[in-house]
């Protein structure tokens, strides 16, 4: 099956920043992404879980974004602006995709 080279970016970011991130992505022309839930985790700011929480101060989400390699830097710049002062993790993986016309 014919596949095409792309980049898979996953941004784990605070739930309160989700809308700001996706707005920044769209502003940078990145219109394809998927938001996935996070149950909890651990990092330099300690361990947390979303269980039973009613507020959004602790929650995080995982925004996955598959993108053409030449658009990666635009995406990372846009994402960095938002995560800059915030906790969160940005990782990039090389991948192959079907149906490249969709990206």
């Amino acid at each position: 099956m014919q596949t095409h080279t792309a980049k898979r970016v996953e941004i784990i970011i605070e739930a309160v920043m989700e809308e700001r991130l996706t707005a920044a992505l769209r502003k940078a022309g990145v219109t394809g992404f998927t938001v996935m839930p996070v149950l909890g985790g651990s990092g330099r700011s300690g361990q947390w879980t979303q269980e039973g929480e009613i507020g959004r101060a602790r929650g995080m989400v995982n925004v996955a974004c598959i993108i053409r390699p030449d658009r990666l830097d635009t995406l990372l710049d846009a994402a960095f602006e938002v995560v800059d002062r915030h906790i969160g993790v940005v990782s990039v993986v090389d991948c192959e995709v079907l149906r490249a016309e969709r990206f």
């Binding site: 300690g46 947390w48 879980t49 979303q50 269980e51 039973g52 009613i54 101060a57 602790r58 002062r85």
Partner: protein, 326 residues
Amino acid sequence: MDGTLAIAANNLTSPIILFFMLGVAAAFARSDLSIPEAVAKGLSIYLLLAIGFKGGVSVAGHGVDTTLVLSLLAGAALSFALPVIAFALLRGITRLSVTDAAAVAGHYGSISIVTFVAASSVATSAGLSPEGYMVAVAAVMEAPAILSALWIIARFGTTSADMEEGLIREILLNGSIVLLVGSFFIGWATGDEGMQLIAPFIEEPFQGVLCLFLLDMGLVAGRGLREARSVLTAGLFAFGVLMPIIGAGVGAGTGLLLGLSPGGVMLFMTLAASASYIAVPAAMRVALPEANPSIYLTLSLGVTFPFNLTLGIPIYLAISRALTGG
């Protein structure tokens, strides 16, 4: 003060408090008991809808009191002012940085709606009938404290708060404010007729739902305390107990000046004494990411909330009665 002790003792053995304690104990014992996030959110939506609606129906019944507008204004003023007191106290008795102190201070100007609900229950069982619009005062007090905290940072801080466009809108349109205020107006608009329709949903099971919700709050608070033992210094703990008492004092004075009923004064005290754990923490994460959330969440939910729930509320009731002769 004998009556106070009786009320305090009675309060301490109410199912609501006991379920909260069960939650704390389960969290400390590392039980895997937990309420799913969606269910906890559903319960909080139920409580906001019910309490807002009831407040509105009560206003529809008693008519718009002349003091309503003044109470709203006073609530907003308190929400602006209390963080300044809290900030000064924190800088005096703890070693928090300006950023952390400002973030914590913001929480104490705002309010905790569950504390308000618990106080309303106690007021009602004590035979008081607080003004229905106190729930609108609660809503009005949610947000100003955030601006106050950001102003403190701008004035005394080295890091700058992230006051980008959209933040104010986001604060004011916070889901819990919208639901509380919206339900209040719907209750006002539909009055007793509306209440009759949905009373079996929002009136009758209310106390039971509150028990379940407090079980969840206990689990979350207990987990927070367990994780954040290290941040909770003696100074911070003292602040978490002193500040509600100071707030209640300011609230009592304001309530008396406004000429509120005994129940109204008591609820005003409770609002001023309580600390936010929904709207303010979320706003602080956005605007002041450098502030340590463990500090403000632990103080608000782990220290001040249980203090108010167990000891504070009966004390505020006793004082309000003594002051108003109610």
